[in-house]
């Protein structure tokens, strides 16, 4: 008798929410939306957010 096929390893429920909120792409999306708003209304904030984008772009390098 063969072993039962395991369902794909996908998080569900609270784990799925956690996985979504910690997805590596999320900071880029959030910073991207923030920088658009900042360019229109707050130049100094734009510098902070673009600095954040530059820092985050170095993810994975030490």
């Amino acid at each position: 008798m063969g072993e039962p096929v395991r369902p794909a390893d996908r998080p569900s429920g609270a784990r799925a929410v956690r996985a979504l909120l910690t997805d590596p792409v999320l900071p880029v999306a959030a910073l991207g939306a923030a920088v658009i708003a900042a360019v229109l209304h707050a130049p100094v904030l734009t510098w902070a957010i673009t600095g954040g984008l530059a820092g985050y772009s170095l993810s994975g390098s030490v």
């Binding site: 956690r18 991207g32 900042a38 600095g51 984008l53 530059a54 820092g55 030490v62």
Partner: protein
């Protein structure tokens, strides 16, 4: 402590660049803005793989024994060195675009301070998100699969901001 080091390092580098920015104030504001935008666009092309350009970096890693000698001080030092961007691999073009922007921005120290703090905070986001994910290895795999896109989008957003900010 690691994050404090990152922020302090980012502020130091931004501060040095801001001090040097005084050398470029004789250039008209329009010329400086044009150069900032041009460099940001070159960064996009480089990260898209369209432009092959070797950029200067001190391609050395901070030795691990920095953390072994004294954990708290070591974490601060590790973060500080990463935050300065001086002794690290610079695997994206966005930091160079930001450095040029600070160098040519002119004006008060506030934008440079904001950029330095933002840079340090941006670098801190990676280990923070990884830790919050609860599964570091899975998060590493996700990042590896998306890193090229993340790097490119960061450059594009910075270039867009460079076009928009006066």
């Amino acid at each position: 402590m690691f994050t404090c080091g990152l922020l302090a390092g980012g502020v130091l580098t931004a501060g040095v660049l801001w001090l040097l920015s005084g050398l470029f104030t004789p250039l008209p504001a329009g010329v400086r803005q044009g150069l900032i935008v041009a460099v940001a666009l070159l960064a996009v092309l480089r990260d898209a793989g369209t432009l092959s350009l070797r950029l200067p970096q001190n391609a050395r890693q901070i030795p691990q024994d920095v953390l072994r000698r004294h954990l708290v001080r070591g974490a601060m030092q590790f973060g500080f060195e990463l935050g300065t961007g001086v002794r690290t691999y610079v695997s994206a073009s966005a930091p160079y675009a930001m450095a040029v922007a600070v160098l040519l921005s002119g004006g008060s120290y506030a934008p440079a301070l904001a950029a330095g703090l933002g840079f340090g905070a941006g670098r801190a986001l990676t280990p923070a998100l990884r830790r919050l994910s609860g599964n570091g290895e899975r998060w590493d795999d996700l990042l590896a699969g998306r890193l090229r896109g993340v790097t490119l989008v960061c450059s594009v957003l910075i270039a867009a901001a460079a076009c928009g900010v006066r």
